[in-house]
């Protein structure tokens, strides 16, 4: 049953050291505020899961919070590589990081299987792809009817999933619009789910009933954090802050610059700062 709580409590109540955790978002609706709160609370030894780890995962990895990364595309979208991740993989700085690497199709199927309560996902994939040789969590099975060889990966079942969404209603039902990505599956696959939202509305009447909606009993906690996806965007609320993504490339390239930036913008910041950051990006509604 969803409880409405402040973000620090939502994070403290649901995340712990050593957890496997997904902060999911597919370019759209990245739960930055939740990730920053996790950074402030200083969790360790996390297994970070995400199809498209980007700036927030670069930040958590740069802060030494991650023991392992499960992913399918690790880049700064539209900009280039993730430099803190590179430093961890190439130089073990600030700590070594274990890599479990998949394709998007595999991760999407693995979340889907997690949401569906299955132990694994079976799909047509990885043919000729070398990841199948370096990742022991990629196996092959035979279709019992045709004999065709199909790829299999274990279902993803994060201990906790964090997502950002447009709206919750007063009962705690959650609504997502625009590019819906993998978030519904990431929430349903997780043992616990925490959602940050732009706003709470009385109910969803007037909105189309076949939208992506998570019933309140699938969510552990909801925190209201306007702007909580910045520098990502929230469809219908504010645009993507492209300049911030470009700027990140410069910041993450230098260990000291990174440390200073994190100190100023994350460690000494609060969830309330996000609303200000998106002010100039607000879209007409």
């Amino acid at each position: 049953m969803a409880r409405f709580v402040p973000l620090p409590q939502a994070v403290a109540d649901n995340l712990k050291d050593g957890d496997s955790v997904a902060f999911e978002g597919f370019t759209h609706l990245i739960p930055t505020a939740a990730a920053h709160e996790a950074i402030r609370q200083g969790f360790r030894d996390l297994t970070l899961i995400r199809m498209t780890p980007d700036v927030v995962y670069d930040q958590m990895i740069g802060m030494g919070m991650a023991r392992k990364l499960v992913f399918s595309y690790a880049g700064n979208p539209g900009v280039g590589l993730l430099r803190r991740l590179r430093d961890a993989v190439e130089n073990d700085f600030p700590r070594p990081i274990e890599i479990e690497e998949h394709s998007h199709a595999a991760m999407a199927n693995a979340y889907e299987a997690g949401a569906a309560g299955l132990p694994s996902a079976i799909f047509r994939g990885y043919r000729g792809a070398e990841l199948a040789h370096v990742n022991p969590n990629i196996k092959f099975v035979r279709c019992p009817f045709t004999g065709e060889e199909l790829a299999a990966v274990p279902a993803l079942r994060p201990d906790v999933t964090f997502i950002h969404a447009q709206k919750a209603d007063r009962k705690g039902n959650v609504l997502i619009e625009g590019i819906v990505g993998i978030q519904k599956e990431a929430v349903l696959a997780a043992r616990r789910a925490v959602v940050t939202v732009e706003e709470v509305v009385e109910d969803f009447s007037g909105l189309h009933p076949n939208l992506t909606i998570l019933p309140h009993w699938t969510v552990a906690a909801i925190a209201v954090v306007p702007g909580g996806a910045h520098p990502s965007y929230t469809h219908g609320y504010y645009a993507r802050d492209n300049a911030e993504y470009l700027e990140w490339d410069r910041i993450a390239a230098d260990r000291d610059l990174f440390g200073d930036w994190m100190e100023r913008n994350v460690l000494r910041a609060t969830p309330e700062d996000f609303a200000r950051r998106v002010e100039k990006l607000r879209v007409a509604r």
Binding site: F26, T27, H28, M51, T52, F71, S72, Y73, A74, G75, P77, G78, V79, L81, L82, L85, R86, V89, E90, E101, S103, H104, A105, A108, N109, Y111, E112, F123, R124, G125, Y126, R127, G128, A129, E130, L131, V134, E148, E149, G178, I179, V180, G181, I182, K184, E185, T212, Y233, H235, A239, R240, D241, N242, A243, Y245, L281
Partner: protein, 258 residues
């Protein structure tokens, strides 16, 4: 290169756009493929279906997206589906006629590496990884590839087989049970390449205006094969060039404005 009114990069994008048909259902990679697909849509293929892996189907962005999940893609799409559905029903379902990929490293058989430079366990450069590419390469009916030539990108042997092209050539795809055509077209900033019908080695079939055999060989890490009847790529038309430059200008304005 001879003096010309267009850049090699513009020629690359426009040559790539020409390969797309109005009836194509195209799974679009970000960067050069995205520009080519949208130029096709804005010129000779207005009804082409552009699909981005974020779930947007039949999108018609006014400016080029910076990422595969920009809001512009959703705003202009016919519909937006969840990511698992995108990979299951639309890609794996065999509905994509052209998967359009870029590449960090490519070999003569159209195998692509976007994973690591160096050893996988201890890489010299950790690249972003495959994303959608491994299954785009095997499930799309055909694959087009576009990239700017350089000895760093076009190599004798790639460091990692992120996406399988024609493997070691010949019938290697068939031997692995892959029944799609694989890479059938490579468009660089200097030339158009097609795989040899037998060996599947990419062979230059057309040189862009101003490009020479020597320029192609100097920027390629393997010994290049040229078709016996080597064509010259028609230069960009006024419409193609104006459309591309307008799109780039709109895109720059939009992204700076944000």
């Amino acid at each position: 290169m001879t003096k010309s009114d267009f850049t090699p990069n513009e020629m690359m994008t426009i040559a790539a756009s020409r390969a797309l048909r109005n009836e194509d259902v195209c799974f679009v990679g970000i960067g050069a493929p995205s520009a080519a697909c949208n130029i096709a849509r804005l010129t000779h293929a207005p009804d082409i279906t552009l699909i981005y892996e974020s779930g947007t189907i039949g999108t018609a962005p006014d400016v080029l997206p910076l990422s595969i999940g920009d809001g512009e893609l959703c705003d202009t799409a016919l519909t937006t589906v969840p990511v698992p559905e995108m990979f299951r029903y639309w890609l794996q379902g065999g509905r994509i006629t052209i998967g359009f990929l870029g590449a960090a490293q490519i070999d003569r058989f159209g195998n692509i590496n976007t994973t690591v430079v160096g050893d996988y366990a201890r890489p010299k450069v950790r690249l972003p990884g495959g994303g959608g590419a491994p299954e785009i390469a095997s499930s799309s009916q055909e694959v087009y590839i576009t990239l700017a030539q350089s000895k760093r990108a076009m190599v004798e042997k790639i460091d990692f087989y992120t996406s399988f092209g024609h493997g070691e050539g010949g019938d290697h795809r068939k031997r692995l049970g892959i029944d799609t055509k694989g890479p059938t077209l490579l468009i660089t900033d200097l030339a158009v390449w097609k795989p040899d019908p037998e060996t599947k080695e990419f062979t230059v079939v057309s040189l862009h205006p101003g490009a020479t055999r020597e320029m192609v060989q100097e920027t390629c890490g393997w010994t290049v094969k040229f078709a016996e009847a080597l064509d010259q790529t028609p230069p960009p038309t006024e419409l193609e060039l104006a459309t591309l430059r307008d799109l780039k200008a709109r895109t720059d304005r939009a992204h700076k404005g944000a």
